[in-house]
């Protein structure tokens, strides 16, 4: 049984279809990262999952149970909101304590004056306090527990929102870009915390992010949503190495995959020293797209099948250098990712020669479908041509 199932969820705002039938199964304890371009409906999907919005169609099952008509509070999901949605009148500590108090204390125990006199509430409250402090410590916000949201920085607020969601044990975790306002170190730290917590608690998680590093490093499977459809859902490795759709390939990978138009003749695609044979012989089209990731583009001083190009822009990223080169032949930009050592001496405007690794190239049909293809040695090709 799946921990969470979506079947054909659709949703429109006015006449604008935002979700066009999204189906998704999350196994118990699985961590799914949901990525997609801004405005593609990720937040909307999470809200529907939590029961905060109604879908126009489709069904949701949590733990095998149909969820329609069940109130958000009864779905036992925890959510981190993109806009934080902290209670402005409560301190950080009180904010984090809310979900615990709501579940652990009885209604009467929560009453302002009466409640504090009831038996058992004292120890329950102490336990809540302990949990809150522990959570706060692990997210490095224990010094902020007495501050109200209005007195915190953006990142601090976000961590409080995260703590509020993570402090309890829900049946599903929904997180909407929970780390987007954190600095890199804190993000890595928080990433570790979330993964750790997930491992310990085994709560299935749907995690929306626009940070690929997060998606690829944290998730068991990554779902790519584009234009209201879930295009691919598979392991991080597969989604990176083996995208089934051009849009997915384009979306995943940083810097972006290089995409150039190519011609398919007789089941053979060739471009700048790369020769690929299409496995599916029945493919009839002629114009295809060739994709190759920047790390498989390298500078070569003197290979004759190298592509002539000029460096447009150099981006230094610390441990690596990104070259944006304009191909002399077709005017397209080709990106190469190099180590600082490899890029040593390269400067903007300089002519360079680029080589591509044929075994890493991918071929896509005009409609974006991935076409299976195998690299063909140039010699073999020659043989073929001459043979």
């Amino acid at each position: 049984m799946n921990a969470l199932s979506l079947r054909g969820i659709t949703k429109s705002f006015g006449d604008q279809a935002i979700l066009k039938g999204v189906s998704l199964d999350v196994a118990p304890g699985e961590f799914i990262a949901l990525v997609g371009p801004s405005g593609c409906g990720k937040s909307t999907l999470l809200r529907i999952l939590a029961g905060l919005d109604h879908a126009d169609g489709g069904e949701i099952l949590i733990g095998g149970q149909e969820m329609s008509g069940i109130a958000p509070a009864d779905r036992n999901v925890a959510m981190v909101f993109q806009s934080y949605a902290l209670y402005p009148h409560l301190t950080a500590g009180q904010n984090i304590a809310v979900p615990l108090a709501m579940r652990r204390l009885s209604r009467t125990q929560r009453l302002p004056f009466v409640g504090s006199m009831l038996p058992g509430q004292r120890s329950a409250r102490a336990a809540i306090l302990r949990d809150v402090e522990e959570m706060a410590k692990s997210l490095k916000i224990d010094h902020l527990l007495d501050r109200k949201p209005g007195q915190m920085s953006g990142g601090q607020r976000q961590r409080v929102a995260l703590a509020r969601a993570m402090v309890r044990q829900p049946s599903v975790f929904l997180m909407d870009e929970p780390l987007s306002n954190l600095d890199a170190n804190l993000r890595v730290h928080a990433r570790g915390e979330i993964v750790e917590l997930h491992r310990r608690a085994g709560v299935p998680t749907v995690y929306v992010t626009h940070d690929q590093a997060e998606a690829l490093s944290m998730a068991d499977r990554v779902a790519v949503m584009i234009g209201g459809n879930l295009l691919q859902l598979t392991t991080p490795q597969a989604i990176y190495d083996d995208p089934t759709h051009l849009e997915v390939a384009r979306f995943i990978g940083q810097p972006r995959i290089n995409v150039v138009p190519a011609l398919a003749e007789n089941g053979l695609v060739s471009f700048g020293g790369v020769r690929l044979a299409l496995n599916d012989a029945s493919f009839a089209g002629t114009s295809v797209t060739l994709g190759i990731r920047p790390e498989f583009v390298s500078l070569s001083q003197n290979r004759k099948d190298a592509l002539a190009a000029h460096v447009e822009r150099i981006e230094f990223l610390g441990s690596e250098v990104i070259l944006y080169c304009k191909l002399d032949a077709i005017g397209e930009i080709m990106i190469a990712k190099l180590t600082p050592a490899e890029a040593n001496g390269v400067s903007a405007g300089m002519p360079v020669a680029l080589t591509l690794s044929p075994e890493k190239a991918m071929v896509f049909a005009e409609d974006g479908r991935r076409l299976a293809a195998t690299p063909v040695a140039v010699d073999a090709l020659k043989e073929k041509a001459h043979g």
Partner: protein, 307 residues
Amino acid sequence: MASLASMSIPLTTERARERSEARTAWLLASPAILLIVLFVLAPIAAVIFLGFTDFQLGIGKFRFVGFENYAHLFNDRTFRKSLWNTSVYTAIVAPLSIVLGLGVALLIESETLARSFFRTAFFLPVASLIVAMATVWQYLFHPTIGPINALLALVDIPGPNWLGASGTVLYSLSIIGVWQSVGFNMVLFLAGLTAIPRELYAAAEVDGARSSFDRFRLVTWPMLGPTTLFVTTISVINAVKVFDTVKTLTDGGPNHASEVLLFTIYQEGFVYMRVGYASAMTVVFLAILVVLMFLQYRLLDRQVHYT
């Protein structure tokens, strides 16, 4: 030394900047200030002045009597009675109309059906001319042929003599007072409710605020804090200023049982024509209110604004 100087220069210009901000503020507030001085402060000054005289309407001359009016006031049985009645009336009407106003606003917000009908229904009493409505209430409260007592008779409850008996008249007026002000408070609460970010309710639901009462405690009530403070202030002030219903329905009677402050002041000033004495009464009335309000504000203002 030099560093001290360089530190102090920007600070003074910074102060100049603050001054310019203050100047803008003054400019924006000046029409209001001018008009307040003209239409609030100046008349109050005149009232305070009159309070020290024996001025009577229609008699041109008056003389200063010092604190005589005030001395008289402390022995005035009617004044004390009306002070007490006003307190009782306020103690009933203000809390009831706030609670009901909030309740109605919440119910209407949570209900999708016939919203504008309900809003209008509860608002109508605010929009009605009390002099005309008093006539209707007078009839509704009629001890023998009135519909209320007729209904009570159906279930064998002897109806009280609502407006006629000194024991019940204040409560009857309070009922009308509540009827009149619930809609007023409802509108304010509705406006306050629309300003609460929807996301907070979403968060509350996800956090396990299952019942609407929980969500109310967690989000609505604290977020309505400023509105509630405002409504409370206005409700108390309006209750203390009750006049029209008393004037048109009971004339303070029977035997001062429904005598309230503003009515007493009116009676002294305009019916007995003793404007000087009425002015002294007004001053005391205002003094009491001012003290009350500032106490309330001191205590509550801090607690309801979060940013």
